[in-house]
Symmetry: C2
Subunit: 316 residues, 2 copies
């Protein structure tokens, strides 16, 4: 099976990306096309099938080597049965995607949620390559995650394994409500959204900060101000880093990974952010669970999803 190939699909609200991968997680080529959400469920599934066939034309020797097609989707999924129960940005409601796509493509289909799939992609073919136990954080609009133990993605009892953004880490007195309804989730302070909110709060209450001159504050502006020595911005970054490090300390005594991988837009802040996270992590973690553990940047960027979706056949 050294000649085996795997196809991954990243099904998003605006674009469908497909990628062809080797059995050791190398991305051979990608293809991208519009989702056309407005045309409805059936049209979207036909688009996936069409783009997969454009990526690897049926009838070719390459097509025969394809062992399966994995699909990553943002939403609530019944993973074992391959059903999309609900998706916020796609019109699927209880659609048996696995069954329907197997009929259209004649290849085994697996589905999984987008954060898990991106984590698996990094672990398998990106920053975690060769490391059996890794945990990935994706810092974007929210905070996503994925847990890889002994080279395998963990799902958990109800598919909630790796939902790191909803770890309750902020103490009650300073906690705010998360989009999920719960108080004090990691996502409220360490996502781009959380960082922007803290910055806007500071400006609104009149804190002296260079951010008050910025028209449309994004996470990047907060990091740039912090790097330039702005104290208000520095405290916001420290707070985001503190709760990330604290959550990693919990992860370290639960699954004890060898490597933490940080991706998503916020991770572009790079070592400036990572150093602060490491300092907290080391302080809050027993020596035997932090010695030899590294915290590194993701490598695959927006391709992590297609690589991980392809990897579902070997690593899930």
């Amino acid at each position: 099976m050294s000649q085996a190939l795997y196809i991954g699909v990243d099904l998003g609200g605006t674009a469908i990306k497909t990628g062809l991968c080797s059995a050791d997680g190398e991305l051979i080529r990608i293809h991208e096309g519009p989702t056309q959400t407005e045309l409805g469920t059936e049209a979207i599934l036909n688009n996936i099938a069409a783009y997969v066939k454009e990526l690897v034309p049926p009838g070719t020797p390459e097509w025969d080597r394809v062992q399966g097609v994995g699909i990553g989707i943002a939403g609530f999924l019944d993973i074992p049965n391959g059903i999309i129960e609900f998706s916020a940005n796609l019109p699927f409601r209880n659609v048996p995607v696995k069954q329907l796509m197997e009929e259209k493509l004649g290849k085994p289909i697996k589905i999984n949620n987008d954060a898990n799939v991106a984590a698996l992609g990094e672990a398998w073919g990106g920053a975690g390559k060769g490391v059996a136990d890794c945990v990935c954080y994706t810092l974007g609009t929210g905070v996503g995650g994925g847990i890889i133990v002994n080279d395998r993605l963990i799902e958990g009892f109800s598919g909630m394994a790796g939902e790191l953004g909803h770890m309750s880490v902020v103490p009650d007195l300073e906690a705010i409500q998360c989009g999920c309804g719960q108080m004090g989730c990691l996502e409220t302070v360490s996502s781009a959204t959380g960082i922007i909110r803290m910055a806007k709060d500071a400006v609104e209450r009149g804190d002296r900060t260079s951010l008050s001159l910025v028209e449309n504050i994004m996470a990047k502006e907060v990091f740039d101000a912090a790097k330039a020595g702005d104290e208000v911005a520095s405290r916001i970054v420290s707070r985001a880093a503190f709760y990330l490090g604290k959550s990693m300390a919990a992860v370290a005594v639960i699954v004890n990974p060898r490597r933490f991988i940080i991706g998503g837009g916020v991770s572009k802040a790079g070592e400036f952010l990572f150093e602060q996270i490491r300092e907290v992590f080391v302080k809050l973690t027993p020596e035997r669970a932090h010695a030899g553990v590294d915290i590194v940047a993701a490598q695959l960027g927006n391709n992590a999803g297609v690589v991980g979706a392809a990897g579902l056949f070997l690593r899930a």
Copy 2:
């Protein structure tokens, strides 16, 4: 292999317990003898071999069915190589126990740490029977733990998976130092030792509590006083329960188990304690990660160790 049998050994500082188990985790019979720590490493290993042979005499058909002997040990271990690096209550220093015991018994040997092994025993043959994803807490002098995912015990990169007692959960302002050197570990508030300490502190500072009349405060006295309505004792129990529930909320979004199993002396407080833990857990955990999840008492008591050690051959 339905006729396969497994032997588990619980190697303690004063006693060595051995147990014979079926392939589905049923404990068939046990044997117990003194460790004789004072006689040194070689004598201890000979005692293990002698007790195993008393449990199942070599030459019998039963002996031929034994697939392996697992040993649970408190200490720092090199698990893959079967070496005891250090143990606080046994004279072993870098002893290749796996190799030496394989020579003595002619059966495959596996070793693992006592907390992991007890967790595996409960998951395999006790309160977790039939549940693929469980997390066990042992509340005794310290707080131990073990994580079972997809029916398998997780070790982690450096054997620190499931070290739940050293999750940093208490906020800085009220944190005290743990025996491990770190501040605010779960063990400082939710172990028997932690509960007794909080009670003694309350008595010493003159809080009005029925505990001030107790000569030698143990965890049981604190629970009894709380059940009788003593407000100081109630707050201590609430605090122990709060941090247990909070740590479980973290576990729930990391590995998302179906069941939490609580054992150890403190767990004898029963539903009075468990109800408070459940309330915190539900409050701090997203609905999809707490719905259908139960928190139950361990069932095997002191036999969890031998059952889990036997289970190392099927579930680790």
